[in-house]
Amino acid sequence: MNTTDLDNLKATELRLGLPGTDEPEKPTSRPTSKRSLEEDRQAERKPSDGSQESTRVTKAQVVGWPPIRSHRRNSFQAMKTEAAEAAAGGGAGLFVKVSMDGAPYLRKIDLKVYKGYKELREGLEDMFKCFEGCKGSGSEYAITYEDKDGDLMLVGDVPWEMFTSSCKKLRIIKGSESIRGLGSGHQQKTCKFI
């Protein structure tokens, strides 16, 4: 079968596929299909021009090729995904819930978007200003968080990275008793790592 015949055959062939696609799909379970392997081969043998990229992509979809054990293949997929996430600075983000005493609903923030405690405090103030009129000094609330062990901790004591890796959720506590109990060092403490 010479090339012209093949071209003519291709032109009249009824196929399921987008117009303009050249590469026939490799079927995996169609016992009644009349697939021409010679056709597939011709397509694969095209010299490298732009089509090489697309043939590579199609080959990527061939089941069981390249012949690598599933266990190894899965390990690599896992490592690749993790590496990509790490490179993108953790594309998935680090979302934690934020509750505020008295607020009817909670919010969620991505800790990764903040560079430090100052931005975090500003972000939270912004987010919750609809619930109270207070901003800046004189406000009677403390930002606390629940850590990995489930303990309620005051935000600001530890380095920022350590905080983001151990913070499970944030809680803004209102009310004078809890704040006064912390003493005069309180305001300074919350601003320690700004």
Binding site: P27, S29, P31, R45, V63, G64, P66, P67, I68, M79
Partner: protein, 575 residues
């Protein structure tokens, strides 16, 4: 008629190492059959459906070690549907009933369940060794049963299995009285283990020589373990990465020099180049090195490590080693017997990969090289011819050119001549995997020259039935033939049907074989199981509609004295 008393004959049989030799002597006469069967301790079953478990147990009542293989090889590459079969439970149950003296069980590509593992653990008081390779269907609960009930366990070796993680407690189940461990490999487990328990287990196992940790084990834990097990010969590290400013890093640097017996290293998940430096003190004694799970190590750092490995016999790496790295291997590792180069980037453009040059270099520099698995993006005939000339002692040659059907890039010709040179030169070749653009010609060469060939894997190759016929005609010792995406049809399948009874199995998928051809094969050869695997949803309906001329997607043909199996799922149709 025996000329010697039975005890003498039995003693002579003791010297027969291989299963095949023992099988042969058992066919000489009834007396020898009896002596042989009552004295055989190691039983190997290459296909779990070739014979019923009960028959094996009845024939070999004094069996101490049993090896069974299940799914066809292409199951490794997801070509066999998940619940095709290969169940271990019938074997464990039969052994529990008839061979209570069982000490060792090795299973490959089988479905093992937690129930099976528990039955195993409780049924054999002298059980010493469990090796599972590429199995699935069980969880850490099954491992807990093994740990709990196998007193005197020496070996638990889990290689590349899919194990469900039901928690870290299983390791705690080794009782304090368990001090007999020689080999423990849980590298394939995804979940964490209790590191304290692990350290205590290691501390009370004075005979421990092989320990392979999983990725969840940190460098901190590794340091503690190495401190307790300086006599290790074979180590699989866990996640081999730690910040170089951390104390654990400095401890790591000092951990390895104490391990004077270390000969084999693997693991290295997430390994960083800095951490590899810890290995320099032990490099010169290494005989086995597996870095194939360390994609973050660039070629230059691999070279820095390998240039000290003078005694290396087996090397598994990723293609980031590059041709340059393989040249270093060639000039350094003069004892090298086995090389495996895996692709680090399966679908990419492959600019950090290896080419034919790397393979030629290693073949030229390593005179003892006899086993190769090589993934690359291109290969030339001239390179293969050079390799064939350099290495006439190949036993296994598996080449995978990642682009299916790719010709020699220099000449644009098929790789027939290259592979032809390989089979002509390597007279002891037992296993061959082909790739690249190949015509019927390569099969003519294989049939003519590959007289010792036992296993052949073919993909996207050949032009006509002639190709397959050349192979079936010429390869007298062929045991396993697996073919995918080749234009071989009924003509080839039916040319020599008796041949399949001399083989363990034949696999053909995405070829030109029709239902009519399969039916004809099944009709002519009652002692073959001809299985058709059809995964389309409407299989039941299409079963009626399937006409003989319709092509079948996957067939698996194997000899069997057990008849058609009774555990076949819906999508498997035994003719």
């Amino acid at each position: 008629m025996t000329y010697f008393p039975e005890e003498v004959v039995e003693h002579i049989f003791d010297f027969l190492g291989s299963h095949r030799d023992r099988n042969t002597v058992s066919t000489v006469c009834k007396a020898w059959y009896q002596v042989e069967r009552l004295s055989r301790q190691n039983v190997f079953v290459g296909n779990c459906y070739a014979i019923r478990p009960e028959r094996v147990m009845a024939r070999f009542p004094r069996m101490k070690s049993l090896s069974v293989k299940g799914k066809p090889h292409f199951a490794d590459f997801n070509l066999v549907p998940y619940d095709w079969g290969g169940y271990a439970l019938p074997w464990i149950e039969a052994a529990a009933r008839s061979c209570a003296g069982l000490e060792e069980l090795r299973l490959k590509r089988m479905v093992v369940t937690d129930d099976g593992l528990e039955l195993l653990a409780r049924s054999f008081p002298n059980f010493k060794s469990l090796v599972l390779v590429s199995c699935d269907g069980f969880s850490t609960d099954g491992l807990a049963a093994i740990a709990t009930y196998c007193r005197g366990l020496r070996e638990l070796d889990l290689q590349e299995n899919e194990v469900d993680d039901h928690g870290r407690q299983w390791l705690n189940c080794f009782p304090d009285s368990c001090t007999s461990l020689i080999s423990l490999n849980f590298a394939c487990l995804k979940g964490e283990v209790n590191t304290g328990s692990l350290e205590r287990l290691v501390a009370r196992s004075p005979n421990l020589r092989s320990l392979k940790l999983n990725r969840a084990i940190s460098v901190e834990s590794l340091n503690k373990i190495l401190a307790r097990a300086p006599h290790l010969v074979d180590l699989g590290t866990g996640s081999f990465t730690v910040d170089h400013r951390a104390e654990a890093y400095h401890r790591l640097m000092n951990s390895f020099p104490k391990c004077k017996s270390l000969r084999s290293l693997s693991g290295f998940w997430d390994a960083s180049p800095r951490c590899l430096k810890a290995l320099y003190p032990v490099c010169i004694n290494l005989t086995v090195l597996n870095l194939s799970y360390a994609p973050a190590i660039p070629g230059d750092d691999l070279i820095k490590l390998i240039c000290h490995c003078f005694k290396l016999q087996k090397l598994w790496v990723l293609d980031c080693i590059g041709d340059k790295g393989l040249a270093v291997v060639a000039s350094t590792c003069k004892e090298l017997q086995e090389l495996r180069v895996f692709p680090s980037d399966i679908y990419g453009a492959g600019n950090t990969s290896v080419t034919e040059e790397g393979l030629v270099a290693v073949s030229s520099g390593c005179p003892k090289l006899n086993s190769v698995l090589y993934f690359c993006y291109q290969m030339t005939n001239s390179a293969l011819i050079a390799v064939a000339k350099n290495c006439p002692h190949f036993i296994r040659f598996r080449l995978c050119i990642l682009d299916p059907g790719k010709p020699d890039p220099l000449t644009n010709l098929p790789l027939d001549e290259g592979f032809g040179a390989i089979v002509r030169s390597c007279k002891n070749l037992r296993r061959l995997s082909l790739s690249g653009l190949l015509t019927d010609q390569v099969f003519l060469y294989i049939g003519m020259h590959a007289k010792c060939l036992e296993m052949l894997s073919i993909a996207f190759a050949g032009n006509s039935d002639k190709g397959m016929i050349y192979v079936l005609d010429g390869c007298k010792n062929l045991r396993k033939l697996e073919i995918r995406d080749c234009p071989f049809g009924d003509g080839a399948l039916l040319k020599d049907v008796a041949k399949y009874e001399t083989m363990r199995s034949l696999w053909m998928s995405s070829c030109e074989v029709t239902l009519g051809g399969c039916k004809a094969l099944a009709a002519k050869m009652p002692r073959l199981n001809v299985e058709i695997i059809n995964e389309s949803d409407d299989f039941e309906e299409s079963k009626e509609n399937l006409v003989d001329v319709h092509k079948v997607e996957k067939i698996y043909v194997y000899r069997s004295v057990a008849g058609p199996r009774n555990d076949a799922p819906e999508f498997v149709w035994t003719l």
